[in-house]
Amino acid sequence: MTRFVVRRVLVMIVLLFVISAITFLLFVVALPNGSPAGLIAGRLATPAEVHLINIRYGFDKPLYVQYFNTMKNIFSGQAYSYQSGFNVLNEIRAGMPATLSLALGAGFIWLVTSIAVGTLAAVKAGKYADRVLTVLAMIGVSMPPFFLGAVLIYYVGYKWSIIPIGGYVPWTQNPVQWFVHMLAPWFTLSVLFIGFYSRVLRSTILDTINEDYVRTAHAKGLSDRQVLLRHILRNSLLPIISLFGLDLAQVIGGGAILTESVYNLHGVGQLARDSIGRLDIITLMAIVILTALAVVLIGAIVDIVYALLDPRIRLGS
């Protein structure tokens, strides 16, 4: 087990390094003239000014030196946006509460709902309820979150005035309003995943139903519900758990972008979107790197937990 963990952690570290390097390279390559000096200096810059800026910011140093400096700045909270001058890490930190509220809340909702829906669909497979749930799941998977958000905002928020039209209220300020403002975003973000996860769980359960140990359990005299809870669900939930960990990481980092933008939550995702519009390279790069890092980290944790739960994994690899 220790060997597995150690190996997984090593792979993770290498991956983190490679990802940050590639992201850095991509963004540096994207800049005209190979450096943001042109962006900083402005339109009427003389070559002398550009040259001075190059020296001051260190753009004339070799790439790997720039890379180390940038990484150091990002992680120590010293990185400043070229466009707005704000400290990047502070901006990201300001956006975290909204993003985390959205991601964790939606994550909880979609996990619980998917399990319920998937199990229900599997138990009633082939019957009317199953077909209806399948149709709903398919529609959920086919909807872009920002479209669903727009529809909800317009009809439920604007026309019927049931929910507020976007915006984020910090929990520390007003818990009730926080909840009310998060309802629609939670729903919007969950729909996509519920559609996908419930289908996966349904097919996993249907596969597990035919295993021998389930038949044994029935033969032993366990009731249907006991068999379902103790044997079927336990085994069917494994792939869901690992998928969930990865998806949650992806949502925290990037997937929530669309939902945040539509509901104007000013989270990290919306920050990323605004950075694209302004071509704010540093902020964008910082967000991408930190997100990818989070994904890889959580991925490693999920792998380890999965290996803990399923001995076949750690013995077989």
């Binding site: 990802i19 991509l26 998977v141 920002f146 990481a249 992806q250 933008s261 694209i276």
Partner: protein, 347 residues
Amino acid sequence: MATPITASAPGTEFSEGIDAGFESAGLDLPPGIGPWSLAWRRLRRNRVSLFFGGVFLLIVLMCLLAPLYSHDVAHIGPDTQNITGTVTVGGKTEDIVSLIGIPIGPTWEFRHYFLGADELGRDVAVRLLYGGRNSLEIGAVATLLTMILATIVGLLAGYFRGITDGVISRILDVIWAYPAVLLGITLGTVLAVRGIGPLKGTTLMVPAFVIGFVYIPYVARPIRAQVLTMREREFIDAARQQGLSHFQIMWSEILPNLSSTIVVFIPLILANAILLEAGLTYLGAGVQPPNASWGTMISDGISTIPAAFHNVLIPGIMLVLTVLSVNVFGDGLRDALDPRAKVRIGR
């Protein structure tokens, strides 16, 4: 050179799924019907999937006929702005774009502004069809790119194993570690600003390439896994004994067995590609003006809620309908090709 020894019984050209599935279902079919015909028969019985497949084809056809509609029916192009004009609807003359900037809603009259106008006075129906062409084109190109590259990569990794597999798998891990949207944003922004060779600026190929690239690991990994299993089987050894080169084996032995997996992935990737294009465009990293797509229409429409919600609703519904059709058809396709999926709870 003798022809390679391949398994002769029909049905074993796939992995053992088909035989096992049929035996457990108690069906007794005469030998000689190939797996594709069997799959087609099963697909034919699935009315819902066929219906949605038809819907998708209808949408594609409508979009292809966009120039026809534009020239002969509406007499207006997708970019023709008409802010100050008026139009006669059911006897009344109305401003296309009212004095405070609210465009007209659907008129339900084919000859003009069938689905209304946007804030610049452009005909929504015409733009919908032209935008659809772009969205579908990007989706198709991206899917093609993903499938071809992922198959090659998965095949090479699974067949040669060893170092090749190690390198390829690590590269796939890196791509896969990026959340799809963020990777799309990074690549989309970089390519739009700087570009690599012909992939630059506002061409539609940029989002197509980005989307296609992002999805490669999702397909390559399962293909690699399947090739790894196939690698161990006797018919590969037999083929090697016959003197076939590596590439001949990959082409004539392994690839046909991958065909069902590949076919099943195509609608899945297509649906996701269309969705991702809309998402990336909404974020500003996808289709750039002056090109139009369903993504740009929804994006523009969102900025003018609540005055003219039909600008959001109409392209959005079209998008959802298209993706839904592809998804349902793909689901039916998967059911038809994989008999194990048909096993029900039975006691």
